[in-house]
């Protein structure tokens, strides 16, 4: 298994694979509706000027998510190791 960290900690340009989504209710559903489910590959493509929300790239589209919403998502970063790490 790779190293699992909260999505919030990903740096811009970093890629990871979603390990777990822990959000229930409306937030959980919205997250799943957008395809943020375990196994999905994501890349952080940017952060808003005030560092929140964050812009994520998924297969074929970009979506934005607040930091406190990203906290419900855990990602595996060793799935795609970055050269710096």
């Amino acid at each position: 298994m790779g190293k699992t960290i909260p999505l919030r900690q990903l740096a811009v340009g970093q890629r990871a694979r979603i390990a777990k989504v822990d959000a229930h209710g409306e937030l959980g559903r919205r997250i799943r509706d957008m395809g943020l489910i375990p196994g999905a590959e994501v890349e952080v493509v940017g952060r808003a000027p005030l560092m929140d929300p964050v812009a994520l790239r998924l297969k074929g589209f970009t979506l934005s998510l607040r930091n406190n919403e990203a906290d419900f998502i855990a990602v595996d970063i060793d799935a795609k190791p970055r050269p710096q790490e």
């Binding site: 509706d33 957008m34 489910i37 297969k59 074929g60």
Partner: protein, 772 residues
């Protein structure tokens, strides 16, 4: 129903659904609202192979759950209206995610056809989709389209209609997906019970109902509780599974169901449907490059401010011309009606009540058109989503959403806006609580109609700090809007902030046609309101300021004064044809002084010649006197009317904020339109017609009136800034919030708040003036 085929358009937001709908129906479309909610209902007629097809545009959704109004509406239409076929407009570039909705439509069992839209973009991104293979695997028509150019749309519609024809008369054929070893057994048991009891099966397939119970769908559960005793049993079964999943997998049914749906989709796509030529991050390259500038840490906000300011400037700079034409047109109507009708009540009703009332409202039409044209451009291009993205952090502090910025700016966040299009602009917000808070607070901004009041009083009392005072008022508007939004969001509109999970669509060039249709829809809705509700309120306010009329003896007294002047005039004309110019000028001064002395309420008048007298070379001293008497009569009439009596009755209360009865009447009139405040004040001060833009004579009067102090002026400005929105805005609030309740709330709440602050300002200000 004239058309015999009904086709519903479904799809994710930004998939090109509206563009496709416009292509299909052209101008033959009708926009309304679903009763009680603000989701738009669009329908139109299309011609397909010689047949009339009724096309229903469902709201854009990502899913078919019951969390958002849009989803509930989409589901209701599908189930209640039973369209013959649903066309799911799919953004081919994000096929996986878009199929998530398609699968749910298929699970419902309704005939579905897929439009692989934006196939042009997908191809450019190096994506290859085998439509025939997808069609075969899903057993439904799949057609590649480019809604922007119309490519493929005809084929899609024909395929959909014949698919619907083929399936007509047969029961819906729901797709069955396996939900794995934990859910499949319980689903089977639930289906058995549901079918045995015919529980909700008149409308919904049994397996769909069972799934919705597992997903704890509130809408279906409520229907179920009304339908029969099985509801409790199903809820218990769902709860049991949820406990089991929690214990064994540390998961819950909704998440498991979503996983299996996506699993099904990737299973289909893996069978040679789709090949991607490149990697996750290299795609959408052009859009990403634009984002690197447009949402850059420093450049992003600067560009955003420039864009917002630009929109505002363009709207009001260009809007001025057509607004002038509309005003000129209603001015002409006014003059024509005045000339055609005999003096009296009917004339007053037609001219002041109807023409001026509706004219004032129609004057906004050009502004609304321009504003929506630009907002539609920002929305369709994808920039609006970036604005929300950049500002969300700030607005969230106040319980709002990044998208709240547009309504605020338009309403007068940059002084001079207008709350009517502002409130309407709140439609871009898809989060109901944030939208409501925005709608209720946007009218605090310094709209253009409040400016003449501020200019008048700032000019008289704070002339040295004019710019600072105006800026302070604008800031006060922002401050109050944000603070009140925060308060509302933690009281009457309490509730967690709506998740921000939002798509940032790639930048696209909108089509002119799409923008024009969008603009026209909004404008037409507004015009319809002007002709109905607003006309009625306008007449009501006219009546309040007209009735009861002055009693006979008082009108007779004014008539006698007029007769006396007319007699003098005739005598003078008979005797002094050859009077020199210089002499006339002399007579001018003394005559207007005399008129003032004669007038009953004119005792405290400062004896200044009125504006008309100062500028009018041709003006004749007797005409001056007649005008002064007319003005006196108008003032007396206003004082005697219901509005006047209300103003006088309120004096005991409003005195705390330093408002006398004249101010009160003006403020009552200001409810019709804030522009009216200055002119009503003019009438109340017996100055006759006062131009709101150029109120020199009124300024003189106010300066001379000892009742007006800087404290009273400041209190009035604060009050005007914050009190009840004008009624056009109130009607817009009703329309946008979906109920009169919020419109009335806004009126009452704002007025109380404004009055409280005005009293504070007046009392503290007066104490400070006395002390310092």
């Amino acid at each position: 129903m004239s058309a015999n085929v009904i086709v519903a358009l479904a799809g994710n937001p930004n998939s090109g659904k509206t563009t496709a709908f416009n292509e299909y129906t052209g101008s033959r479309q009708h926009v309304g609202n679903y009763p009680g909610i603000t989701v738009e209902k669009k329908e139109g007629i299309a011609r397909v192979d010689g047949r009339e097809v009724r096309v229903v545009d469902l709201p854009g959704t990502y899913s078919l759950t019951a969390y958002t109004q849009e989803e509930v509406v989409a589901r209701r239409v599908l189930v209640e209206d039973r369209p013959d076929v649903v066309i799911d407009v799919i953004n081919a570039g994000a096929l996986e995610r878009n199929l998530y909705l398609a699968v749910q439509l298929m699970e419902l069992g309704i005939p579905v056809a897929l439009g692989l839209n934006m196939i042009d973009e997908a191809r450019k991104q190096g994506l290859r989709i085998d439509a025939a293979r997808l069609s075969q695997l899903l057993d439904l028509p799949v057609v590649e389209t480019v809604a922007r150019t119309g490519e493929g749309l005809k084929d899609l519609m024909s395929a959909a209609v014949s698919h619907g024809d083929a399936r007509r008369g047969t029961p819906w054929k729901p797709l069955e997906i396996s939900y794995g070893p934990d859910l499949d057994p319980v689903l089977a048991r639930m289906v058995e019970r549901i079918e045995a009891a015919r529980f909700l099966t008149d409308k919904y397939p049994a397996r769909w109902v069972a799934l919705k119970y597992l997903e704890s769908d509130e809408d279906i559960r409520a229907l179920g509780r009304a339908a029969g005793p099985l509801a409790a049993e199903l809820e218990a079964m769902a709860a049991e599974v949820a406990r089991h999943l929690e214990a064994t997998l540390n998961s819950y049914p909704e998440a498991v169901i979503a996983d299996y749906r996506y699993g099904y989709i990737s299973g289909v796509l893996r069978q040679g449907v789709m090949t991607r030529h490149d990697e996750l991050s290299q795609r959408l390259a052009a859009s990403d490059r634009m984002d690197r500038v447009l949402t850059h840490r420093l450049l992003g906000p600067v560009i955003m401010l420039a864009v917002l300011y630009g929109i505002y400037e363009i709207t009001f700079a260009i809007g001025e011309y057509p607004m002038g034409w509309v005003e000129a047109f209603f001015g002409w109507m006014n003059a024509t009606a005045s000339a055609a009708l005999p003096d009296g009540l009917l004339k007053s009703l037609v001219v002041s009540g109807i023409i001026d009332g509706v004219g004032g409202v129609m004057g906004f039409v050009p502004l609304i058109m321009l504003m929506f044209m630009m907002i539609a451009f920002l929305e369709d291009s994808g920039y609006m989503a970036r604005v929300a993205y950049m500002l969300d952090r700030v607005f969230r502090l106040f319980g709002l959403h990044g998208c709240s910025v547009m309504p605020y700016i338009v309403s007068g966040g940059i002084a001079g806006g207008c709350a009517v299009p502002g409130v309407m602009a709140a439609r871009t917000l898809r989060s109901p609580r944030e939208r409501l808070a925005t709608i209720l607070t946007a009218p605090f901004m310094t709209c253009g109609a409040k400016l003449p009041v501020f200019i008048l009083f700032v000019g008289v009392f704070f002339a040295q700090q004019e710019a600072q005072a105006m800026f302070a008022l604008t800031l006060l508007g922002w401050g109050m809007a944000l603070i009140v939004a925060r308060i509302l969001r933690s009281t009457v509109i309490k509730g967690e902030s709506t998740p921000f999970v939002m798509e940032l669509p790639p930048y696209r060039l909108p089509t002119l046609r799409g923008i024009l249709i969008h603009t026209w829809e909004r404008t037409w809705q507004y015009i319809k309101k002007a002709g109905t509700v607003i006309l009625a309120i306008s007449i009501l306010l006219w009546a309040a300021m007209t009735f009861p009329q002055l009693p006979e003896d008082r009108t007779a007294a004014f008539e006698a004064q007029r007769a006396a002047i007319t007699a003098q005039k005739e005598a003078a004309e008979a005797g002094g044809e050859k009077a020199a110019e210089a002499e006339t000028a002399d007579a001018d001064k003394s005559a207007s002084g005399a008129a003032v002395a004669e007038a009953p309420a004119g005792a405290d008048q400062a004896g200044e010649p009125s504006e008309a007298a100062a500028e009018g070379e041709k003006s004749d001293p007797f005409e001056e006197q007649l005008a002064a008497i007319d003005a006196e009569e108008a003032a007396a009439g206003l004082e005697y009317s219901i509005a006047g009596r209300v103003g006088i009755a309120l004096e005991s209360v409003t005195g705390a904020a330093g408002f006398d009865w004249r101010t009160n009447i003006a403020l009552v009139g200001g409810f019709a339109a804030k522009e009216v405040i200055v002119s009503t004040l003019g009438t109340a001060y017996s100055l006759g017609e006062v131009d709101a833009e150029d109120a020199g004579s009124l300024a003189e009067r106010i300066k001379a009136d000892p009742h007006w102090t800087p404290a009273a002026a400041a209190a009035l400005m604060v009050f005007v800034l914050l009190y009840a929105p004008c009624f056009v805005t109130v009607v817009a609030i009703k329309q946008e919030s979906g109920s009169w309740r919020w419109a009335i709330f806004s009126t009452v709440f704002s007025t109380i708040l404004a009055f409280g602050l005005a009293v504070a300002v007046y009392q503290i200000g007066t104490a400070m003036l006395a002390g310092g």
